[in-house]
């Protein structure tokens, strides 16, 4: 953080702008106050001048002269001078006021005006009013404005002092606000730098003030968390693809090499080629399954969404897998729902997901066990559950089994590519559904459900809700664990 950066900071500029605005407003206010006060004082003086004139004007000459002499006695300091001049400007009676000749020449009558008398020492400021009497003499009434003038000066000085304090406080405030946001932005920038450099465990600092910057930081932290999860997943997928494909490729290569070395007849070569073809087909199927998962995850299949009947899909899937259950001596039980379970979705994908789950359940259920499939429409959600009497899935693996290629130690020996449940998870996510894995004591129960939209017809999972239904699948298994 450098002080020279300060003028470029938004918050500093904002503070400065506010300061300028308030400064201008205060200056205008002070000016207005000053102007109004001054006008008020002058107005009062002018009223007084008119009043004095009105006292003197009806008097006859003798009476006037007498009053003026008396006035001279009562006001020797020329605070309120009243003087009678003859038309040529000579003082006839009253205060010892000498009106400068420059003013005398162009003196207005019956209206107040301001004039300066260059008295010995310092000039004196007056406001006066002249009246021409019928005799041609001029009666001049004035008032010393020194006190009013001093008051104005005090006012101006106070305004200037106030202004300077305001400027200093304002600047200091702007610097403080700017420096605070600069410190926080610098902290955020530093964190982002570290994230860019590859440390995805870093998070933006949150002050706990819950202001704009905190809220932004929290949203971004959420995004980084999701990115981190995805990065882990991608990395895991890459590792797993490399690992899982190396085994069949090695087997393929070994088979071909053995044929090259040992095969003597066309039949033996043919058998080796057939084996290689089967292996290659398996590999291609694994790739196809991977591509399918990406396709589903990208939402490309959302175009196939119609009003699907979940109960029909469940019935069809159970019927399809019945011979497999029979062959394994496992009871495949279907608990039908009386009403159709309508939802927006792709029946083909739903069928595949249900099929994968049944296939999985059958695979892990020992002879004599039961797999139960049922749909439901309860508590404002529709969905289905598949329960088996197999060994169940340990708590710590319930998240992991949904990842591509994840195969627990327990099922290393069972055939499969480890992509079935990943596809299920992708389909569930595409439909905005929630997947939960729980204990069925014994065995495990997978529940997949979708909240029914409250307003009229369903939008299905196609719509991204602000609450981020995409993340629910991540949160739900954790809830199961707790």
């Amino acid at each position: 953080m450098r002080l020279s950066d300060l003028p470029r900071r938004t918050s500093f500029r904002l503070a400065l702008r506010f300061f300028l605005l308030f400064g201008t407003a205060s200056v205008a206010l002070c000016g207005f106050l000053y102007w109004e006060t001054r006008n008020y004082v002058i107005g009062r003086v002018d009223d007084w001048l008119v009043h004095e004139q009105s006292i003197f004007s009806p008097m006859d000459r003798d009476n006037l002269l007498q009053r003026l002499s008396a006035h001279l006695m009562s006001d020797p300091t020329l605070e309120r001078p009243v003087t009678l001049f003859n038309p040529s400007g000579r003082r006839l009676a009253g205060s010892q006021l000498s009106v400068p000749s420059s003013i005398w020449a162009s003196m207005p009558f019956d209206t107040a005006f301001r004039f300066v008398v260059p008295e010995s020492g310092h000039p004196m400021l007056f406001r006066g009013m002249a009246q021409r009497r019928p005799s041609g003499d001029i009666l001049f009434v004035a008032r010393d404005m020194e006190a009013a003038h001093e008051f104005s000066e005090v006012l101006i000085r106070a305004f200037i002092a106030g202004g300077i304090i305001t400027i200093l406080l304002g600047l200091a405030g702007a610097v403080a606000v700017g420096a605070d946001s600069m410190r926080r932005i610098d902290a955020v920038t530093g964190a982002v730098q570290r994230i860019v450099n590859g440390d995805l465990t870093e998070r933006l600092p949150v002050d706990g003030r819950m202001d704009d910057l905190d809220r932004l930081a929290e949203v971004i932290n959420g995004m980084i968390g999701e990115l981190e999860r995805l990065m882990h997943e991608v990395k895991g997928v890459c590792d797993n693809i490399a690992h899982d494909l190396r085994t069949p490729l090695t087997r393929l290569l070994a088979g071909l090499e053995r044929a090259r070395r040992r095969a003597a007849s066309a039949e033996e070569y043919g058998a080796a080629v057939d084996e290689a073809i089967l292996d290659t087909r398996d590999l291609l199927q694994t790739f196809a399954a991977l591509l399918r998962i990406s396709e589903v995850e990208n939402g490309a299949r959302r175009a196939g969404f119609t009003d699907a009947d979940l109960s029909a899909v469940l019935a069809d899937a159970v019927e399809l897998y019945d011979p497999m259950a029979e062959a394994k001596h496992v009871r495949l039980r279907f608990v039908p729902v009386d009403i159709p379970l309508l939802m927006r979705g792709d029946p083909n994908l739903l069928f595949e997901a249900v099929g994968n789950l049944i296939d999985n359940a059958l695979k892990f259920t020992p002879t004599g066990g039961t797999v139960t499939v049922g749909g439901f429409d309860r508590d404002g959600a529709i969905g289905f559950e598949i329960a088996d009497t197999g060994p169940g899935i340990p708590l710590r693996e319930r998240d992991a089994v949904l990842r591509r290629f994840y195969r627990s130690e327990a099922c290393r020996q069972t055939p499969g590519n480890g992509l079935g449940l990943a596809l299920v998870a992708a389909v569930v996510r595409l439909h905005g559904m929630v997947l939960a894995i729980e204990d069925a004591t014994p065995g495990c129960r997978v529940t997949i459900s979708q909240r029914k939209p409250e307003d009229g017809f369903r939008h299905g999972g196609a719509k991204r809700t602000p609450s981020g239904s995409d993340f629910e699948i991540k949160a739900e298994p954790i809830k199961g664990i707790a």
């Binding site: 073809i277 196809a288 399954a289 175009a303 011979p323 497999m324 062959a327 792709d346 083909n348």
Partner: protein
């Protein structure tokens, strides 16, 4: 000899398809662009056309297809596409396609489907109420099946499975075709489960000691062969 036009822009894929179709006993012409495909289709009479959905330079697969249909050519068209979404398939079929195959595919799948299309073309099936194959009889109205007079009890799905096999008697039907036509779902077919349904059906059909009527075609699917 069956004459097939392959419209496919990728040289290598085209060469593979041509080789596979030749091996199957078809004569094959190849066109690399939609334009060339249209010119060839206009100049020659083909029994079937294999058409890539995505073609370079102007006219794409669907464009070729609608032009062909507008010109009154009714040869069956099988669309090949890398796009697997359901509505892509619907668009292809709506434009006049007869079948839709998603890449990558097995060549056995391709030839099996072409066989079905060609058969359908040469012998349009009337609305019949009885299907017969050798000693096998299926009554579509009463939903009963008899083999050499013996009544065979079938589950509804087994009935549909056998009906499809009987409609394509002596032809190779792939598991994908069965899954799509009998179960009516379009996704990755669970191979082993379909095999189990077939073996259950087989057990019900075949009497003691006789040779099975549903033959497994290695790497492809099944063929119903019912001797007289």
């Amino acid at each position: 000899m069956t004459h097939v036009l392959v419209v496919e822009d990728d040289r290598q894929t085209a060469a593979e398809i041509t080789a596979a179709l030749n091996d199957h006993g078809f004569a094959v012409d190849h066109a690399a662009t939609g334009r060339e495909g249209l010119l060839k289709a206009a100049a020659e009479t083909y029994d079937a056309i294999v058409l890539d959905r995505m073609l370079p330079n102007g006219i794409d697969g669907l464009g070729v297809l609608s032009t062909l249909r507008a010109a009154g050519m009714d040869a069956p068209v099988l669309i090949l596409s890398a796009l697997s979404a359901v509505d892509e398939r619907v668009r292809g079929l709506r434009a006049g396609g007869d079948d839709y195959l998603t890449k990558p595919f097995d060549f056995l799948e391709l030839t099996a489907r072409l066989d079905v299309l060609l058969r359908r073309q040469s012998a349009p099936q009337p609305r019949e109420t009885m299907l017969r194959a050798g000693k096998l009889e299926m009554d579509l109205l009463t939903h009963t099946v008899r083999h050499a007079g013996r009544l065979i009890e079938l589950l509804p799905r087994e009935f549909l499975l056998l009906e499809f096999l009987m409609r394509h008697v002596d032809q190779v039907v792939t598991r994908t075709m069965l899954f799509e036509e009998v179960w009516n779902y379009r996704s990755v077919e669970p191979t082993n489960v379909i095999d189990m349904h077939i073996s259950k059906l087989r057990r019900k059909l075949d009497s003691e000691g006789s040779e099975t009527m549903i033959h497994t075609v290695r790497g492809a699917g099944y063929r119903l062969h019912a001797p007289e």
